[in-house]
């Protein structure tokens, strides 16, 4: 009788599970295919570390993360147990009387206690502590699931005291089994679908941060306009999200009180997909305001524990908007600058030539020079940043590094690409690749992390491969040749990791090594290394007409964090971070000095 009832229940509940999952899988299947499986080894390794090792889950929130890891590992430990119980209950095969199983049960007991501990902590956190990232309403569903898990563990532990053959034992067994079945039916409709999807999502997540497909204009691709344009990975992402809010709390836009919340973007996507509003314009779904507030800092994507990629969605939707002429005015002006003058400021090329001449730069010749210096829009045109460039040249010259620059260099197109103006980006990229190919450098050195990303990663997709390194990496390579000037006063500094250097590029040690070499004591701010908080410049926001609207300035927020280290000097290593932080410093008349890394090093290195 019990067997028959269980069969019925399993069929009903497993059927409910399959039907709900199938509905979502169908939505993934009909979406334009964006699944990629390049670098399979990297992907598999990442699944192991991230899913089984719970790396991101723990790194961002150690206590809650470990609690979650207990529950997750407990689940894995329990899988054979649950399977055995069901197989026995369904009358297929019974191994529960074997000596092996008895030993296994003993081993499971501490696991069950760990899961209990973990889940009770998470329950308390969700209902009583309630961190901001989890949203304002307590999710009933999560509470139910937590109680389910608690019940599962409790009923397991009770088996030590209650004999299974007694009535109490049978009830205990049935409670255990029903909870599992209930769980099964609840999973697909809830955030717990990540149990099924997250290993796949992690496997399919791009190995490089901020990886975007190039639009093919021949095929009349224009980016994402409506819900139905969202690619299969984006759809999978929407169903995998666990609503943990890690992306939200790490998002500089959300932190500064803007409209954008990356978690909301993913939830809105999920909602629209399930509601079947496939023709809904993405600009309306996400709101145009939110769409243009993203600095593309990548914090959301990098902190997501289940492999969700926000940037392809946000930038994809920007592309759709730009293609329909819906970019904000300030971007229109910047695009004009790029189209007419090939630089973001719209300055005439004479200005760059003037700098090249006064700085005594030679035109790159592979026979004569070791490296090509890529100036970038800031290095070529911003008189303030040119001080940092001159410092770099001085350091290189003193160490007899032979370098040259291109006679004509255009903006890499970073700002166009991240704001969705793929057409302008590709025009610039094609022209630059042509110039670079003709010049033939083996190594490019630049002080702009955005240029490193764009030339190093994005140009690669057009088949252009070159070694491009940030100046901090190149100079740190000569660490032994740099002697500090011992007469320089001791200095305590804080270092602001630029997003495109620390997070995108993983370059976090070299700048610190240079600072330490120059006898500077480095106090790291909150949010540093590969999870810095953004200065607010990326994604075209350097050009925003009102940095403070809505909410506050992102740059101001970051400067405050940096000031809290107590250091009187803020060092950074990106021209855009430099503009933003200096701007924040000036506006607040803050008692702190912002300086670029190369200027700092050159000011303290012993002159040869």
């Amino acid at each position: 009788m019990d067997t028959l009832v269980l069969w019925l229940l399993v069929l009903v509940f497993a059927g409910a599970f399959v039907a709900q999952v199938a509905a979502r899988v169908r939505l993934i299947a009909i979406a334009p295919n964006t699944f990629e499986i390049t670098h399979p080894a990297t992907r598999v390794a990442r699944v192991l570390v991230e899913v089984f090792g719970q790396r991101t889950t723990i790194r961002e929130r150690p206590i809650a993360g470990v609690a979650h890891a207990f529950v997750f590992w407990g689940f894995i430990a329990f899988a054979p147990y649950t399977a055995s119980e069901f197989l026995a209950g369904l009358g297929i095969v019974d191994v529960t009387d074997s000596g092996w199983f008895a030993a296994y049960r003993i081993l499971l007991t501490p696991c069950a206690m760990a899961v209990l501990l973990g889940i009770l902590f998470l329950l308390v956190r969700r209902t009583i502590i309630r961190p901001a990232g989890l949203g304002t309403n307590v999710s009933i569903e999560s509470v139910v699931i937590a109680l389910f898990i608690t019940t599962l563990m409790a009923t397991f532990l009770l088996t030590w005291w209650i004999d299974e053959s007694t009535t109490a034992g049978r009830i205990n067994w049935w409670v255990h089994v029903s909870v599992i079945l209930g769980f099964l039916a609840l999973i697909p409709g809830s955030k717990h679908l990540h149990l099924v999807f997250s290993p796949i999502t992690w496997f399919l997540k791009s190995p490089t941060l901020g990886n975007l497909p190039n639009l093919d204009f021949e095929k009349e691709e224009v980016g994402l306009e409506t819900v139905k344009d969202l690619g299969s990975k984006a759809v999978l992402d929407a169903f995998t999200c666990v609503e943990c809010g890690r992306c939200q709390v790490n998002c500089p836009a959300w932190g500064a009180g803007k409209t954008l919340n990356p978690k909301t973007i993913i939830l809105q996507t999920e909602e629209a997909l399930l509601a079947g509003t496939r023709d809904r314009a993405l600009v309306d779904l996400y709101s145009a305001q939110a769409l243009w507030q993203c600095t593309t800092c990548g914090a959301c994507e990098n902190q997501c524990p289940v492999g969700v990629e926000h940037l392809p969605i946000l930038i994809g939707a920007r592309r759709g908007a730009v293609s329909n002429g819906h970019a904000p005015d300030y971007l229109g002006a910047m695009y004009n600058n790029l189209e007419r003058r090939s630089n973001i400021w719209g300055l005439s090329y004479g200005e760059r030539e003037k700098f090249v001449e006064t700085a005594g730069l030679e035109t790159f010749d592979p026979a004569k020079h070791d490296v090509l210096i890529w100036l970038g829009c800031a290095g070529a045109f911003d008189a303030d940043y040119q001080k940092s460039m001159r410092s770099l040249f001085e350091i290189l010259r003193a160490r007899e590094v032979r370098f040259g620059v291109l006679s004509k260099e255009r903006c890499t197109g970073d700002a166009a690409r991240r704001t969705g103006n793929e057409y302008v980006y590709q025009e610039l990229a094609t022209a630059n690749i042509e110039t670079l190919t003709a010049a033939g450098p083996k190594t490019i050195v630049t002080s702009c992390p955005h240029c490193v990303k764009t030339i190093g990663d994005d140009y690669r997709t057009f088949g252009y491969r070159v070694e491009i390194v940030h100046s901090s990496v190149y100079i740190a390579g000569m660490l032994n040749e740099l002697q500090p000037d011992e007469t320089a006063p001791a200095s305590t500094v804080t270092y602001h990791d630029p997003c495109y250097l620390g997070r995108y590029g993983g370059t976090v040690d070299e700048p610190r090594a240079l600072l330490a070499r120059m006898n500077a004591q480095v106090n790291d701010p909150v949010r540093s290394r590969d999870n810095p908080s953004c200065c607010g410049a990326g994604g075209g926001l350097l050009f925003a007409d009102k940095e403070e609207e809505p909410g506050t300035r992102i740059s101001d927020m970051r400067l405050t964090e940096l000031q809290k280290t107590g250091a009187s000097t803020v060092v950074t290593a990106c021209p855009f971070c430099s503009i933003m932080l200096k701007g924040a410093q000036a506006s607040r008349q803050a008692d702190v000095h912002v300086v670029d890394l190369m200027t700092f090093v050159n000011g303290r290195v012993r002159k040869l």
Binding site: W345, F381, A383, Y385, K387, D545, I579, K582, G583, A586
Partner: protein
């Protein structure tokens, strides 16, 4: 005879009309002024103060709001009855819109954006910038009269207009306008910029940066601005601090200006500021830091303490 087409909007004369008038007077010979609109007699009276032969007024209900078709029809109709040698327009947005149409309708030569007029024997030579102002070209019309010319704002001094001993006669002229042929339907005008102060129109600007140190010191800059008949502007930190209103901010997140003279006091020259003022004709920077980036764009750089330099300049200008 030279005909100057004055520009008015809603009964208010555009200042640039006086500049075109000054140009006409400088060219010599008889000058006549035309004003087109609906109910623009007051504007005509204002113009009649100038030393001109007469002021021709065209009033028509179809001309109440500017439309390219309506104004072209009116002016071409006038030109079929008065036959000047040259027709001068101020180089405003409006003239840019319809002066070429008038020229094309009459099949006459149009010379735009003129900054100076010279004589070469009995030929009139118009000077206009080319290649974004890098070169100046001398241009002579070889077509039939009248030649249609637009005069760049700021090239001639409105104050230089000669006044007549008595008011010039005002002549009403009736024109035929087929209202159905006007294809444009003007919407009510809207203010493009929310700014109360329109720095883009200023000829001279004195701009203050953090070098000014305190709000109270703004007065020093204000005095210099007054002495120079200049507008006061600022870098972002000054406006952020509320020392000057937001609408006086110059730069990427403020206004973009291109005055004839831009005086930067204690401004470092951050790129976000530079992109907003780099188009100025002459840039003077006063900064006590020799390495300040502002000196990269300045035509005249003064490495000095602004608290000494500025009052001295003001005093010199006043005397």
């Amino acid at each position: 005879m030279i005909l100057v087409v004055a520009e008015q909007r809603g009964g208010t004369l555009n200042r640039a009309s006086w500049e075109a008038l000054a140009c006409a007077q400088q060219m010599g010979g008889e000058v006549s002024v035309l004003v087109v609109g609906a109910g623009v007699d007051a504007v005509a009276r204002e113009l009649s103060a100038a030393d001109v032969r007469d002021v021709v007024v065209v009033n028509h209900t179809a001309l109440a709001d500017y439309t390219a078709d309506g104004y072209t029809a009116a002016v071409t109709d006038v030109l079929s009855r008065i036959t000047p040698d040259v027709v001068l327009f101020p180089h405003t947005y409006q003239a840019r819109d319809f002066a070429p149409k008038v020229a094309a309708r009459l099949n006459r030569v149009a010379i735009t954006d003129v900054v100076a007029v010279k004589r070469d024997g009995d030929r009139v030579v118009f000077v206009r910038p080319v290649f974004q102002g890098k070169l100046l070209a001398d241009v002579v019309s070889e077509g039939d009269a009248p030649c249609i010319v637009t005069v760049q704002a700021g090239a001639f001094q409105a104050a230089a207009v000669r006044r007549g001993a008595s008011a010039a006669p005002i002549r009403q002229l009736d024109v035929q306008i087929d209202e159905a042929a006007i294809r444009q339907k003007p919407e009510p005008p809207f203010q493009e910029s929310r700014q109360a102060v329109d720095l883009t129109q200023a000829e001279r600007i004195v701009s203050v940066g953090r070098g000014i140190k305190e709000q109270a010191n703004i007065a020093i800059a204000q005095q210099l601005a007054d002495a120079m008949h200049a507008e006061l502007a600022a870098s972002r930190p000054i406006c952020d601090a509320g020392w000057l209103p937001m609408d006086r901010q110059v730069g990427s997140s403020g206004q973009t200006v291109a005055p004839k003279l831009y005086v930067a006091l204690g401004i470092s020259g951050a790129i976000q500021h530079l992109v907003g003022m780099k188009g100025s004709q002459t840039i003077v920077a006063i900064n006590n830091d020799r390495d300040a980036p502002i000196f990269e764009v300045a035509d005249y750089g003064i490495v000095e303490d602004l608290f000494e330099m500025v009052p001295a300049l003001t005093a010199a200008l006043k005397s």
